[in-house]
């Protein structure tokens, strides 16, 4: 089963994808990879810089929404794109997320770039538990 796939027939001008995972850590990792891959081809990025993200939320959907928006934030605020991500989520009343991204500053000559993502939208945004683990559906504004 692929970790994520881009979907057609959801939106015309934007980017829709679904990601799956055996658990929440896996789901969040795969969703992040879908976002990272649509910014730039991952094989062209080197893991030179490490960034840590810590988030907490009572709602799993809002946690994923904020988490994916972090990737877009780093791209604009620090001109960073990432190759890898490690996610650890715990639940103690609220969900607590710690993530570590590795990547480097954007170099338009070196990186094979895709789209400059604007925002994660709430349009048909879903995080759901399935018989095999977890699934999410996300639309990114381009």
């Amino acid at each position: 089963m692929p970790k994520y796939r881009f979907l057609e027939g959801i939106v015309t001008a934007d980017l829709a994808f679904e990601a799956t995972g055996k658990d929440l850590n896996d789901l969040f990792t795969n969703a992040a990879l879908a976002v990272l891959e649509s910014q730039a081809r991952l094989e062209t990025i080197e893991p030179k810089v490490t960034k840590k993200v810590v988030l907490e939320h009572a709602d799993i959907e809002e946690l994923l929404f904020d988490f994916l928006n972090e990737i877009i934030f780093f791209k604009d605020a620090e001109q960073l794109i990432f190759k890898t991500v490690k996610v650890a989520i715990t639940k103690d009343g609220k969900y607590k997320l710690t993530a570590q991204f590795k990547g480097e500053k954007i170099d338009q000559k070196k990186h094979k770039l895709g789209n400059d993502l604007k925002a994660v939208t709430m349009h048909q945004f879903k995080v759901e538990e399935t018989t095999k683990g977890w699934r999410c559906q996300v639309v990114i504004d381009i």
Partner: protein, 494 residues
């Protein structure tokens, strides 16, 4: 919250659209529980077919929002978006709990178009088109990681939020005349930087003067056909071999973050106002609430940043032309024709049942096209009506139009914003490779430079509706008049 979805009866809403006259279709309030007004679509039969089913679902969702007046309108270039359709126009009455919704404006607040004239002809420019496009590509940052060439302090960026294009002109990035040729003179007065998050500022501070990606571009065009010589002349276009420059971009990461911040605020606050919506992207708050006003003031900051972004780009374009043609930009007649916003909300006075009312107008992928005489139009154009710029795909061309009195009656003084996609980005990318498209376009006399070849493939002309069909619908209805058709010769893409 009712996560009403498009899976249930997607084709249902389309089937309920009834033709009321040529190019006008209505979906009655009986179509969906909760509709307060009908949906009204402006389109030919062909364009109706080219719209995806979700447009009709989304339009009828908008018709359910509190305080909506008369119709949820849909322009002929419409396609589905998030929450509102792209090509949506909706007015809300603040006296009747009317709302403001970030999803009715878009994440790219004040995405818009700018058209610049030159005194150069196609013959002057074509021998140097590669040099010119390469220079623009190198001098106007585009695409992922395209960093602005201005180093702004937080204080300076805050001034940009407040003053928009005015800040640029005061800091030598433009001419005085540029201001009156920009919607709202490039500076929305109610902008309040206190309502903007530090995150938004961090995303935007290094991006002034950058194009971005997606469907954003900087294009060298030729005035291919002039439909109304008198008006075209007044707008600075006098011959059908004249070179013009078109810019399409918005408020960049700054505006996107403002929209993201307030989407979250509204989602958490709606229950307090007793509002339920069918899609979380329709999150809204009463215009006269604290949150509604906060967003309106933050949105204005983003709109001003977008005006400033296009202004700084204009200044760079003038510098590039001046360098290549070894002539000062003013001797090259590089005047701004107009700058229009097509993702924004405004408070405007309109006639409703014979009475003048102040309405909160949402235009998302739609352009204001006021008729002659409106005070919002700059004095130089007030007697003819507002110029409107419709950006087409990079292969098919664009249009300069003019607003009309009829638009005030039909669409709250609004028209389309471009040609509107018909095909998803993923599908377009599967149909053509960017590198091949670039070569094909060059053979056809369009020289393109891009940061992203996959992005270029996504923007192929076949992914869009025919722009002439879109323009003809609004022209034939008397809503916006055709003035000039412009076709591409060179293009810089993000």
């Amino acid at each position: 919250m009712n996560e009403g979805n498009q899976e249930s009866g997607t084709s249902g809403m389309r089937a309920l659209a009834k033709k009321v006259r040529e190019n006008v279709w209505d979906i009655p309030t009986s179509a969906k529980p909760g509709m307060l007004v009908p949906g009204r679509i402006f389109a030919s039969e062909k364009l109706m077919q080219l719209m995806d089913d979700a447009v009709f679902e989304q339009l009828t969702n908008v018709a359910c929002l509190p305080g909506i007046v008369k119709y949820a309108h849909c322009m002929p270039d419409a396609h589905s978006g998030y929450g509102f359709p792209i090509g949506g126009v909706a007015a809300f009455d603040p006296e009747k709990n009317g709302v403001i919704s970030p999803g009715g404006i878009g994440f790219d607040i004040n995405c818009g178009m700018r058209l610049i004239t030159t005194t150069l002809t196609e013959k002057d420019v074509m021998p140097k088109i590669k040099e010119l496009v390469d220079t623009l590509y190198n001098r106007v940052p585009a695409g992922v990681g395209g960093k602005g060439f201005l180093k702004l302090s937080k204080g300076e960026f805050t001034e940009v939020m407040r003053a928009g294009s005015k800040w640029c002109v005061e800091n030598s990035h433009g001419w005085d005349e540029d201001l009156e040729r920009t919607e709202d003179s490039g500076c929305i007065a109610w902008a309040n930087p206190d309502k903007v998050s530090d995150r938004a500022l961090q995303r935007g501070i290094a991006q002034l003067g950058t194009l971005g990606s997606g469907n954003h571009y900087l294009e060298i065009q030729v005035a291919e056909k002039i439909f109304d010589e008198k008006v075209a002349k007044k707008l600075g276009i006098t011959s059908n071999d004249q070179i013009c420059v078109m810019v399409h971009c918005g408020s960049r990461g700054f505006g996107h973050q403002v929209a993201t911040d307030y989407l979250k605020v509204f989602l958490n606050k709606m229950k307090d106002y007793g509002i339920t919506v069918r899609d979380r992207e329709l999150a809204c708050a009463p215009f006269n609430s604290k949150e509604g006003q906060d967003y309106f003031q933050a949105m204005a900051c983003a709109a001003n940043a977008a005006f400033a972004n296009r202004q700084v780009i204009l200044h760079r374009v003038r510098e590039c032309f001046s360098k290549i043609f070894n002539t000062p930009a003013d001797d090259l007649g590089m005047h701004l024709v107009y700058d229009v916003a097509h993702n924004v909300a405004k408070v405007e006075e309109h006639k409703v049942d014979g009475k003048t009312r102040k309405l909160v107008m949402h235009r998302k992928g739609a352009t204001r096209c006021f008729g002659p005489g409106r005070k919002e139009i700059a004095p130089i154009y007030r007697d003819i009506g507002q110029p409107v710029i419709l950006g087409g795909s990079m292969e098919t061309g664009s249009y300069l139009l003019l607003g009309t009195e009829k638009a005030m009656e039909e669409t709250w003084g609004s028209t389309a914003h471009g040609s509107g996609r018909t095909m998803s980005r993923t599908k377009a990318k599967h149909m053509v490779r960017g590198e091949n498209l670039q070569k094909e376009m060059e053979k056809r006399g369009i020289y393109v430079r891009t940061v992203s070849y996959s992005g270029l493939a996504e923007e192929a002309g076949f992914a869009y509706k025919p722009i002439s069909d879109v323009v003809d619908v609004m022209h034939n209805l008397g809503i916006s008049k055709k003035i000039v058709w412009l076709t591409p010769r060179g293009n810089v893409k993000g």
